[in-house]
């Protein structure tokens, strides 16, 4: 576990860099976490992050990757609606890296 100072507030992260308290999330935190990985968040990244957050609000879990791919296809066009594109955006895997920036907990289980 570690904590970071962000805008005067102490924010706790788990061993893998996920937010311990999901209410700590803000746009700024997402940018900050991405910056630590040398990743500049573009509109495309935000499209994914925002969708993950709204899905999470309804279902308390991240969507399966196929649901995410379909959504991206819908909003960003057929050429972007595939896993490869998501891996380009989030090289560490959309399920893990994107969830981390979006402030969602890390998925558990055989995944």
């Amino acid at each position: 576990m570690r904590s970071i100072e962000f805008e005067g507030k102490k924010i706790e992260l788990d061993e893998d860099g996920y937010l311990m308290n999901l209410n700590d999330w803000s746009d700024g935190i997402a940018k900050h976490l991405a910056k630590e990985d040398n990743c500049e968040l573009t509109d495309a990244h935000w499209e994914v992050i925002n969708f993950l957050r709204s899905y999470y609000q309804q279902y308390q879990i991240a969507p399966m990757i196929k649901i995410l791919v379909k959504e991206i296809k819908k909003t960003m066009g057929a050429d972007k609606g595939n896993t490869k594109y998501l891996y380009q955006l989030f090289p560490d895997g959309p399920a893990k890296q994107a969830c981390r920036y979006a402030g969602l907990p890390k998925p558990t289980g055989c995944v």
Partner: protein
Amino acid sequence: MTDEKAPATDANAIVQELIKYEKLPYEHVELTGEIKVPKIKPDAMIKVHAQQLTSKDTLERLGYPTKGLIPNWKEVFLKTMDKMLKKYKSVRLFMDICVRCGACTDKCHYFIGTGDPRNMPVARAELMRKVYRRYFTWPGKLFGSKMVDGWDLSIDVLALWYTYFYQCSECRRCAVFCPYGIDTAEITMAAREILNSVGLVQKYQHEIIDKAQVIGNNLGMQQNAVVNALEFVRDELREETGIEEIDIPIDIEGADVLFVTPSADFFASPHIESLYGYAKVFHQAGISWTMSTHASEGGNFGMFVHSYDHMKRINKRIWDAARALKVKRVIGGECGHMWRVLSSFSNTLWGPFDYLDSKYPRPQHICEFTLDLLNRGALKIDKTANAEFTATIHDSCQIARGMEMGGQKYGQFEIPRGVIKGVCEKFVDMPENTIKERTFCCGAGQGLLGDDMLPTRVKGAMPRMQAYSYVKKQNGVNFMALICAICKAQLSKMFPTYDIEMEEVGGIHQLVGRAIVLGAKEGI
């Protein structure tokens, strides 16, 4: 703080320092297609420690201490060990009968991958035997540790236990080669339970054991999320096939079949591709089936520790759902330990299942179900749909070294192979010493699939990767089919780590789903 408590607090601090999780770099081994006995590298993996569970609520629900190592840990350690030795006669027997012949030494994938001598099965078991001889045999009790080459309990012993009993995937390959049949998995399960009782609780598996009991599945998907995922797959299936009737029924009372599968099958890739396959098989067979939001998990991580209470409670959901939905039979999807618990332990946990159809008195495996349909000509198959593949099979350990499938000798080997050969023209087995009862673990079984274990995951996958690269080179194999959710998650991560495309890993029913010709029913 009283003086009495002070040293104990220190003990926790000391052990925490010794088993602290550290993100370590990992590197893969070059693929030559050969599996060689490695040079010994003492302490090669001594720094790899699984993360510990620290959530107080979760620990409380599981019934384990909540603040790390407890003050009276020695007393509780020996008490739990005594309980394990009395309750599980196998564990006591395995403590006594090893003759140190060395047959197991080079059989563990973690030893082959790492060269760490403590990953030799005999050395792993010795961690417990040293304590056993000191405290549970009369010469040890009377004359102390030196007399019996034993160990007095110490923080160092505790740290070694935590380190190396979480570098065993309970795959039981060593047991196949042991002339006495000593099953290291039994020893590891007991050791993990002893560690739990003193407050050293590994995070990955116990977080999941908790979620499976509290929420109902390993992923922690609430019912609305399960329904959303299954409906999504149903809609995709309808769109893809143009068949409006194809369905993934949920909570249908009076269906013939209750189908249970790991929750990863409706969440992760490549797992989900098999779900499409299962649904197509049920649709084409014309058999009424249902999934359950109550029993939304097939897997049972309760088996990884020697607390049958967890295993029993997780398994109960399936039988409660079977009874409530009034089904006639239960079929399980592609999952290793699910199959072992469901087929081998269910009956003594929650049986007898006299409310099921007497023709199907025990749970079936989806491969058993599909092969039967294939053999009867009830499924129309177009093998050209899989023409691009030369497939092989990775026998998952809990199935290969579990009980027979389909009540048939060697069914656990022949039935899954039968299904693959039934839907794919080209099939090649990996070398004999790496398949069937001698199969190698994927490198992440029994609670070692977390990212914290990446160093052992990469090294432990090495024998399997070598065997695959051998048939890839010799026979042009380009698809590894398998029937375990852990293996799928691990290998689809390891393939790219070893510079092979992750798409070369998938479920057997992924191949089935591609080859089934829907609508062209020829009758059962």
